[in-house]
Amino acid sequence: MPANPFNSYTEYGIGIGLRVPHYRHILAQKPVVDWFEIISENFMVDGGRPLEVLDQILEQYRVVQHGVAIYFGSADKFDREHLRRLKRLVKYTQTPWLSDHLCWGSVDGRYTHDLLPMPYTFAVARHTAQKIREARDYLEVPICVENVSSYAEYHVSEMSEWEFLSEVVEQADCGILLDVNNIYVSSQNHNFDPYDYLNNVPHARVGQIHIAGHSKFEKYILDTHDHPVLDPVWKMYAHAIKLCGNTATLLEWDDRIPSFEEVHNEALKANQFRDNIVASSPTNK
């Protein structure tokens, strides 16, 4: 049973990000993995090795696309070439849903290649929701938007980040990719209680969860994806699963990437929280 209307893929289980250092191991050993998340932009190419690898992965595994450059929050209109290539890839992978970030990153056709935080205003929420609807209508696939980690806040903001996220997804009628690590990072950088965030997003719209590691600096925390998941994030994950039900979960590990087994084992730790939910659910008593 899906845990909620936007979470039709409860059985997807625990995925990991498909990363270059693991290609050889995955293609040769064919390890058992529930699913792989691919970075869409790495495969929106015309040919060569990336597509060959993708072909081989698709023969064996379920793949979900995760993007880093749609920029729903940019004031710019969409880059039509980007969307065209993305749609081609969506058809090719048959991704059951598509995620990208609730952020901006391009201005007047110039790209920062970063995931920049939004000003949390009602006008921006309307604009962003409209772009999400436009993308979904064109791409013909359900969309989940991911909360980003941030290091800056704007004077013009009129609401909290979780209120903004809720406003956008309700107006866009889309799902949420809830990045628990990002909530933790932002909560430390902006002095809010991460459980306020978790408790106040529309749980019925959470279609996927991200977990990851981060790095602490003297005055702020950076979302580096180069460590195992830290305890506070695991605790938040357990809470998120209680609120949202079993949800497709992915571990991100993008820098200083260890062996495939180490990454996969770290991801599978999420199972203990998911199993606890199943064991304690009313239907199992």
């Binding site: 015309d46 110039r110 970063d114 806040e153 950076l222 993008d254």
Partner: protein
């Protein structure tokens, strides 16, 4: 607000990897940042904007370091950093993918030769060669022509296309041998863009130890086979044939042009050209125009 913030991110860092202290109009940067970014109990508006300014430059410089190790070896790390910073300031990324970050680097080096003096010709050869590798890695391909496709076409009418991922280059320097010496690792997909970068880019090679090559005209094809990247030396006449085919010549005219321009008086052209075409066809270079 997005324009203001992006303009701030696009401004180069100082030599100490910090955000510049003054905005374009001379105001203190702290004042500019405070207009739209809130401070908190640990970080000023300046500090918070600086985190993004650093991440922007660390990410895009790191990308150029990865894609252009040969150019870095030619000009040296200190000059490469200046060159890359100036290039990325003049030509900000206009693509959603970092793959295309270097697509105007050759143009830039021609416009501003001071960055590569006294090795401008070598640097230009290298940047053309390295961009050709980007194209060969994931550029488009077309269906390969088969003998059946050509059987009814006489040579004087036959026009062949070359695969879009294939680049043929006439170079003043043997940059292929030089790059092999410089480059430790073959390329791969770009690093993931979703995570933060917290350190300045550095050279991955031992390039400073390797002597620069001496001039020696070199003809190269940069291509892929079984989705692996290769570069292959060409004979001068082979280069002329391929260049002519790309320009739209018939097969016959391309071969005639190569023989006429050759400085080799006693070559067995029929055998040579057959050998080249057999090889190029086996590599899948020919497609319909």
């Amino acid at each position: 607000m997005q324009r203001a913030m992006a303009s701030a991110l696009f401004r180069p860092l100082t030599v100490d990897w910090n955000m510049q202290g003054q905005w374009n109009d001379g105001r203190p940067m702290e004042q500019f940042a405070a207009e739209f970014i809130k401070p908190n109990d640990r970080l000023s508006s300046f500090d918070r904007l600086e985190i993004y300014n650093r991440q922007y430059w660390f990410r895009i410089l790191d990308c150029l370091y990865d894609d252009y190790p040969g150019l870095l070896a030619v000009v040296g790390e200190e000059q490469f950093l200046k060159l890359a910073t100036t290039y990325l300031t003049k030509y900000q990324s206009d693509s959603y993918t970092l793959r295309n970050l270097g697509d105007r680097l050759e143009k830039f080096l021609r416009e501003e030769p001071q960055w590569t003096e006294p090795n401008q010709a070598l640097a230009l050869d290298m940047v053309r060669f390295e961009w050709a590798q980007v194209v060969a890695f994931d550029g488009p391909s077309k269906p390969v022509v088969t003998p059946d496709d050509l059987i009814d076409t006489p040579p004087e009418q036959m026009r062949l296309g070359l695969q879009p991922y294939l680049s043929i280059l006439k170079l003043d320097y043997p940059v292929d041998d030089f790059l092999i010496a410089v480059k430790k690792d073959a390329d791969s997909l770009r690093g993931e863009a979703s995570n933060a970068i917290n350190s300045a880019p550095t050279s991955k090679g031992e390039s400073s130890q390797i002597p620069l090559p001496k001039p020696d005209v070199t003809y190269l094809a940069v291509h892929r086979f079984d989705n692996m990247l290769y570069f292959k030396r060409l004979e001068p006449e082979g280069y002329i044939i391929l260049e002519a085919l790309i320009a739209g010549s018939t097969l016959e005219n391309a071969c005639v042009k190569a023989v006429e321009q050759s400085t080799r008086p006693n070559a067995d052209w029929q055998a040579l050209i057959k050998e080249w075409f057999d090889n190029w066809a086996a590599l899948g270079w020919f497609c319909r125009r």
